[in-house]
């Protein structure tokens, strides 16, 4: 044993190094898309189009077209007719690097240089946007067309979030998703904890059969149950005269789909608790209910948390069950459904899509990071003693 571990320690330098490299690569691969969504969602919508999020901290360069004011703005100065002003008007300031007057050569002249436009007409466009158009004769016709390459400083904003939350309906869908997910997580935990205790620690006829049935239910695909369940719901709804697509309905559906795994996971964990604890509690006079409540439940917290993560993430990310058991009105459309709809209607508006996506993943991220130490522990539940 000691020899074996010594051996593995001996060759572990490269092993460990390799593992660390691999972990780093996986972390980067996994994290980059999330980071991209976050950065994009915080950028100005024009800049998203101009450059990728990885360039978001450098200025973005874009070529634009503008028109100088018409002849009415000209003043006579030292025998020449001059028009002066700022190409950006009252808009946000940018830095101009080059300009031109023909669309074929938009960056023909350096900014700050006086360009000769022919017939003695000169145009000088400075980096800060101020310009001087000077002509020996009175300027006529429409204002001069000017093309220029300008770079804008990076601009980060929370406007996108205001937009999606309050005018695109993501806020409402967020609340709908929470309305579905929170009870659909809590209800199965409560039922499964009781069931798991009974199946682990109480003796009654048919116990092994029930456990076998539950294990069997683990492999039943939920798609198989959609039609019969929906028919059942419709029948019940018809009988009581209530709508068939309700939050209560989807809570029960998610509860049913989650229970086999929940009971299986919790039971194997609880069965691993030392038998002497229960016996000691029984000698102390505790009933099964008290043992469950005061001994088993507190000790099972890691596995409860771990199942809660599983169930929460699964329900939060679910689209199929939500489509089947909930309506598509704004009062029932969940985030996944809303995202799907946005992809159709606002497919080109990246600022809307990235922001909506980030709003959608923020809750799973919080749940995962706050409970992650239970996540792994729960995965190992029952397989490793004292894990």
């Amino acid at each position: 044993m000691a020899q074996a571990s010594g051996k593995s320690a001996g060759k572990s330098f490269f092993g460990k190094f390799g593992v660390h490299i691999a972990v780093l690569i996986f972390v980067v691969i996994w994290t980059i898309p999330t980071l991209g969504i976050l950065v994009s969602s915080l950028r100005d919508k024009d800049q998203i189009i101009a450059s990728g999020w990885w360039n978001s901290f450098s200025s973005s360069t874009q070529t634009e077209a503008g028109r100088l004011p018409g002849p009415e703005a000209q003043v006579e100065k030292d025998g020449r007719f001059v028009i002066e002003g700022n190409i950006f008007g009252d808009g946000p300031a940018r830095t101009i690097s080059a300009f031109g007057v023909r669309s074929a050569t938009p960056t023909q002249f350096q900014a700050g240089q006086a360009a000769d436009l022919g017939d003695g007409v000169t145009l000088q466009l400075n980096p800060d946007g101020t310009f001087v158009l000077s002509s020996p004769v009175a300027i006529e016709g429409r204002g001069q067309r000017v093309y220029y390459a300008s770079s804008a400083p990076p601009r980060f904003t929370t406007e996108n979030y205001e937009t999606v939350l309050f005018s695109e309906g993501i806020g409402r869908s967020f609340i709908n998703s929470l309305t579905v997910t929170v009870p659909a997580t809590i209800i199965p935990i409560m039922i499964a904890a009781f069931a798991a205790y009974a199946l682990a620690w109480m003796r009654f006829p048919g116990r092994a059969l029930i456990i076998a049935t539950i294990i069997g239910l683990l492999v039943v695909p939920l798609q198989m149950t959609l039609i019969p369940l929906l028919q059942l719901y419709n029948g019940v709804a018809l009988f009581f005269g209530v709508p068939s697509k309700t939050y209560l309905g989807i809570w029960l559906a998610h509860t049913g789909f989650g229970l086999p795994f929940a009971i299986y996971l919790l039971r194997s964990y609880m069965a691993g608790l030392p038998k002497e604890l229960m016996e000691s509690a029984r000698i102390d006079g505790a009933s099964d209910f008290e043992i469950f409540l005061k001994i088993v439940l507190p000790l099972s917290f890691p596995v409860l948390a771990s199942f809660a993560i599983f169930q929460f993430l699964w329900v939060w990310n679910d689209l199929l069950v939500a489509i089947v058991f909930l309506g598509s009105g704004s009062d029932q459309l969940v985030l996944t459904g809303k995202l799907n709809a946005l992809l159709g209607s606002r497919g080109g508006d990246w600022e809307i899509l990235t922001t909506s996506a980030f709003v959608t993943i923020i809750v799973p991220l919080i749940v995962f990071f706050s409970l992650q130490r239970y996540f792994v522990r729960g995965l190992l539940a029952g397989s490793v003693k004292g894990g």
Partner: protein, 370 residues
Amino acid sequence: MADLTLRQIKKAYGAINILHGIDLDIQSGEFVVFVGPSGCGKSTLLRTIAGLEEITSGELKIAGELVNDVPPSKRGIAMVFQSYALYPHMTVYDNMAFGMKIARENKAEIDRRVKQAADILQLTKYLDRLPKAMSGGQRQRVAIGRAIVRNPRVFLFDEPLSNLDAALRVATRIEIAKLKESMPNTTMIYVTHDQVEAMTLADRIVVLKDGRVEQVGTPMELYHHPGNLFVAQFIGSPAMNIVPATVEKTGASTTISITGGRKAEVPVATPADAAGAAISFGVRPEDLRIATGDSVLFEGRIDYIEQLGEVQLVYLDIGRPDTPLVVKLPGNSELKRDQLLKVDADPATLHIFNAKGRSFARDHAPALAA
């Protein structure tokens, strides 16, 4: 405060019988130790008394009351487990108070009794700790404290010292002995496979084997007058030497012929029909001594010597391969391997067992019964 009566207690798991009809009377205030090899049913017997295992048939009475179907908490017992079985998420205080809280006793009373138990076991400054922050010995004391708080009529210990290291085991053993002294009215039943614990703690020892009681008696009774071969070899370390023999002359005193040739006079009465019977002859290693006179019990070549300092164990080849005769001699005896050695023993320390392994009824010499 309570005596126990066990009548034909049987326990079976399906077709497998663990206990084959145990009869036992335990007096109020007695310290009784169940001892036996692993798998002998001693823990099962304790757990049936606790009510953690159902009794298949038979009667169990505590203080005269039939408790076969009474739940553990109503039997007036408290149990200390080998693994301590402390509630890991509760402080020491809550561990000890748990039973009383379940019973909805009033807070002041709970507090008084927990503090009192903590005081007895010197746990007062650890009351706010969680079990994981305590050493093995402290945890075992908490487990004992939890039992004391219940104020039981019968204390049950299931191998409470097995998880402790050797030094701590001795210290805790003495603590348990003192605890017993401070609670003279409480009946205590203690399960162990360690005969040292059994000998030092018990008022009476119950030796079990394969679900049957082999012998019940005080430690010295078991040591000096083992009822059968099993008890003779189980109690005492190293185990008693057993050598086949035949009966030469029966009567108030028996003459036997030990395989190997020598004869011995054993002051034990045997019935006339035992003449010529093949029997087992037993003598403890510590009862053997180097023969100085003409009387010689065994003679053999020294095969091996284990020097323990205080004593030495001498393995004597007496012509029976694989089963040398063990002789415990003072550590300062000058002995060498391959040397011939003659040993002898006081006739009063000799044991003879019939073909079934039962000890021939033996008149109790007044000096030994003390």
